[in-house]
Symmetry: C2
Subunit: 204 residues, 2 copies
Amino acid sequence: MSSEAGTKSDRTRERILHAAAQAFRGSGYALTSLRQIAENAGMQAGSLYYHFANKDELVEAVLDEGVLGAQRAAEAAIGDLPASANPLEKIGAAFRGHLAYTLEEADFAVATLRMLHQVPDAVRIRHLRKQRAYGRFYARLFEEAKEQGLIRAEFDLSALRMLLLGALNWSPEWYDPAGLSPDQLVRQLTAMMESGVMPPSKRR
Amino acid sequence: MSSEAGTKSDRTRERILHAAAQAFRGSGYALTSLRQIAENAGMQAGSLYYHFANKDELVEAVLDEGVLGAQRAAEAAIGDLPASANPLEKIGAAFRGHLAYTLEEADFAVATLRMLHQVPDAVRIRHLRKQRAYGRFYARLFEEAKEQGLIRAEFDLSALRMLLLGALNWSPEWYDPAGLSPDQLVRQLTAMMESGVMPPSKRR
């Protein structure tokens, strides 16, 4: 759901989510108040309650937005590929979308990392289901790549996927916008991945 | 400094560091008390003060131990290689040492990630110097690998290093001891790295 297409209420909701992600990133779950988030979003606490009934509802929306936003960006990047793209090219495109979103909206990624262990169990469990659904999206692409003989037999697909996504997910901790662009950074990873996992016969 | 070789005072210090890492991992910097750490370490708060004058001294020791422990493990793994090992093989060995330490002593890695942004600036700045020194240890190995023609020209050594270390550093977030061993996991990464970064003429 892009902000351009949304109603005024959608846009306000999005503004609250961004203010909340920034506040949770800075202060963690326990020390952040709804009053502070409302203030950061430039609104009265009463107006915020119109969108989110309580802190747990808001924190869950922030956690989910980080995953769903990355997934939307990954799917959109695959959608831009020619129909002839192979599964490894699709993984590369998904990584580009994922990293661009993760670095542009770093508050969501970093806030999630810093507070996921602090939130109530029910919130964390529901959120982890969404993370796993996004993980399955990649798992299917890696399986297709292996079925098409693009990944050597020695690789454990689950480990490979988690290592590569970890490389991307860690990047907000060190990324410097003065250096490589997000796209250039992903190309370093995908250049290594493509010749790194393919059998010699498939390498170009 | 291994606990076997240390004095009784060294061993007590190590026990405090482990109890502190576990407490900081669970509760973050602000919400963890020295009293709680002393209790976890099975000692009186007064005895703890004999080793660490205050919370900031202890938190800095925990942050530093996470980096220095990983670096000691990485250097030891390189030391076990035959003298003929090339720089990429040294990087692979260092990664094995690094990951084994990071997963065995996950409290240090996760506590650092969760509280580095919360600690006083002076503590963080001094600690980041130690992180950078460890980064230079890897930077030199990647430079040697490139000088020996083991890494293709298209790669940015700094990006490559940060992506690969990120893949390892993220792993405590998802690693499942029921699956691959730490060694098997690193071999997934180094198998991809070796054929992924080498020019075709150097691949075996």
